[in-house]
């Protein structure tokens, strides 16, 4: 496989393994510390045991302007239970002790800024593999990306449906971990319909990056995941997992299994 002197990242390993299994990776989002520490840890463990390949761990924020009501609700519950960024990193470290899959930290810029120049070491020490900062476009990304990448933590870039062709190369190239293609205009938790425009957009992104491309925003049901799987390296599910998790870890595990089963590319099923 590698043979190079650089160790391959957990993220690269997982996407390569999924490719070998002829399926898209399942990127699962849950808000950390929702509704409290112990229940959150139980949910996260249930999710990774049921088949989440890449865990996207959300940092609770008081003013999540890019998120819909489901994620807002999760963040409000977590903050009411006393969530802090230090608490999120401690939770990640505990999960990391029993699981070797990649963890991507999803955050708004302001909580991360408070970590100062030590941000890279803090994230790396907690076992975080990459960071996605929703309100930090590439123009402003260097102020956090530089210290993060210096510590060996990857950067996830967002491409939106509104990103024009002229802007696409720079946005796509700014990703060192993977590209997160936002499937629809709007906030998290809306409902996605897959169309030719989306497929064409994914092709355009791939023309500018060799990094894996995952699609999210609006993926709620196995049928949507199955329809996306042939076109993408990963499918991101968030709000639907939070809703399932509110019924307990078993309901969450069932939802994860159902979506995961749908990600095998039709006609290419691995043995």
């Amino acid at each position: 496989m590698s043979g190079g002197d650089e160790e391959r990242s957990r993220i690269d390993e997982v996407f390569a393994a999924c490719r070998a299994q002829r399926r898209a990776a399942l990127v699962g989002y849950l808000t950390a510390l929702d509704p409290g520490r112990e229940q959150s840890l139980a949910r996260l463990r249930a999710a990774v045991e049921a088949g989440v390949d890449v865990l996207e761990l959300g940092v609770p924020f008081s003013d999540p302007t890019a998120d819909g009501p489901v994620v807002q609700g999760a963040m409000t519950r977590a903050l009411a239970a006393g969530a802090t960024l230090a608490g999120v990193l401690e939770l990640a470290a505990e999960l990391r002790a029993g699981w070797d899959g990649p963890i991507v930290l999803f955050s708004y810029a302001n909580p991360l800024l408070r970590l100062g120049p030590a941000i890279g070491e803090r994230l790396a020490a907690a076992g975080i593999d990459a960071v996605l900062v929703v309100d930090l476009p590439p123009e402003h990304a260097p102020e956090l990306r530089a210290p993060v990448e210096a510590a060996g933590v990857g950067w996830v870039s967002l491409v939106a449906p509104t990103t024009p062709a002229s802007r696409l190369p720079a946005v796509a190239r700014s990703a060192s971990a993977f590209v997160y293609a936002v499937a629809l205009r709007g906030v998290t938790g809306a409902t996605l319909e897959i169309d030719e425009e989306l497929v064409a957009r994914l092709d355009a992104i791939r023309a500018h990056t060799a990094r894996p491309v995952a699609v999210g925003f609006g993926v709620r049901e196995p049928a949507q995941a199955a329809a996306l799987a042939p076109y993408v390296d990963g499918v991101v599910v968030g709000s639907a997992f939070i809703e399932a998790a509110e019924q307990g870890p078993a309901a969450l595990a069932a939802k994860v299994s159902a979506i995961r089963a749908a990600l095998t590319r039709e006609g290419e099923a691995a043995r």
Partner: protein
């Protein structure tokens, strides 16, 4: 794309475009359209014509001798933005931004509002141009500004109460941003203050620059000299930037912004300049009221229009450079200021403006020989319910 210093950080380390990628192209297009439209004489003429024919500009400059005598100042002058159509300075910005939205081919306008003055001004200009309008307003503000909610609905706007978070101005902005992300192709987000991502802080200041330019000329005509001190209240900071911009290049003119100290700086307040720290919030890098973990703190002020935990980036910069200084005034002092201007000059100011009124006495005491110019950003009709709730509802006062 440039990994070096970002030129959109227009105000030293403050400003920028900290928005989700989905909004980035819209914000860039708006910036380009603005920078093209504002120097365009045709655009400027249309804006000026509407300000004259519809808004009622220029607004007068009123000498306030009884107030000056009461507080021990040589002279007090009042810039009367309360006399604009809709009762505050807010409409200057709304006229300009709706003209720009039409130029961009947008067919729907959304806005946030705190006190309701920006919402009313937006609804008014949308009615004038026949554009659909949605105004987001915190549920707490819907309650305390019922009259303005009714006015907006009468003008044909849809008012959406926001129950999330503290249910005040910041939450209304969150919800407006979510609407914009979902409808960015058809919709212009008409931000009501000198805040948010570039170009808003610059654009909104320029659209209120008329306040400062008029006041400067009027003051020279009336007194033969410039004022010594220019005073305005600061929430997001639009009326203050408007009047300050007329005097920024006059080094002899002191600029003073007045924030809401709420129940006091040790308690619940909205004094971002005194107590805020550098942060990224609502699309900008500026001072923000936040805890040590980067979570926004709930602001408090008796005045809905000042009840905001952030502040426009140019104010942060003016404070940083020392060009302006910022004071804070409590709820109780503001109520006192409202009564003071009402009793001495027969002008009932908005509770926002009342904060700036309350700061005048201290400024007069620093040096009684100075001319103080106060921006009367809005009139107080909308606040009568709030004031009545805090005082004897009969309205009678102890005689002084």
């Amino acid at each position: 794309m440039n990994d070096a210093t970002d030129p959109s950080l227009e105000f030293g380390p403050y400003g920028g475009r900290y928005v989700a990628e989905t909004l980035m192209p819209a914000v860039q297009a708006l910036g380009e359209a603005w920078r093209e439209a504002w120097p365009d004489e045709g655009f400027r003429a249309q804006y000026r014509r509407i300000l004259a024919e519809y808004v009622g500009r220029p607004s007068p400059l009123t000498p306030a001798p009884r107030l000056a005598e009461r507080i021990g100042a040589a002279r007090v002058l009042l810039k009367r933005e309360d006399l604009n159509h809709t009762g505050s300075h807010k409409i200057n910005n709304c006229v300009g931004q709706v003209l720009l939205a039409r130029r961009l081919g947008k067919t729907r306008i959304i806005a946030e509002t705190g006190a309701g003055q920006h919402g009313v001004a937006t609804a008014t200009v949308c009615a004038y141009f026949g554009l659909p309008c949605v105004v987001y307003m915190g549920a707490v503000d819907v309650e305390r500004q019922a009259l303005n909610v009714f006015r907006m609905r009468l003008l044909g706007a849809q008012v959406v109460p926001v129950h999330a978070g503290s249910a005040t101005l910041k939450d209304a902005i969150n919800e407006a941003l979510r609407d914009w992300v979902a409808n960015v192709d058809s919709t212009h987000y008409l931000i009501g203050s000198v805040m948010g991502p570039d170009p808003y802080p610059t654009m909104v200041r320029e659209l209120h620059r008329v306040i400062g330019e008029e006041a400067r000329a009027q003051c020279l005509r009336l007194t033969g000299e410039l004022p010594d001190v220019v005073v305005a209240c600061v929430g997001g900071g639009s009326n203050a930037m408007g009047i300050f911009s007329g005097f920024l290049d006059d080094p002899g003119v002191a600029l003073v912004g007045v924030e809401a100290a709420g129940e006091g700086l040790q308690g619940k307040h909205a004094a971002t300049m005194s107590k805020g720290a550098l942060g990224i919030y609502h699309g900008m890098r500026s001072l923000v009221l936040q805890d040590e973990d980067g979570q926004l703190q709930e602001a408090h002020s008796i005045s809905a229009g000042l009840d905001y935990p952030g502040v426009g980036p140019e104010h942060a910069w003016l404070r940083h450079t020392g060009r302006a200084r910022y004071l804070s005034v409590t709820d109780d002092e503001a109520l006192e200021g409202l009564r003071l201007l009402s009793r001495t000059e027969g002008i009932i100011p908005a509770l926002e403006t009342a904060h700036a009124v309350a700061a005048l006495r201290g400024l007069a005491q620093e040096d009684p020989s100075r001319t103080l110019l106060l921006n009367v950003s809005g009139r107080g009709d909308k606040d009568m319910h709030t004031v009545m709730a805090r005082h004897d509802a009969s309205g009678e006062e102890e005689q002084r």
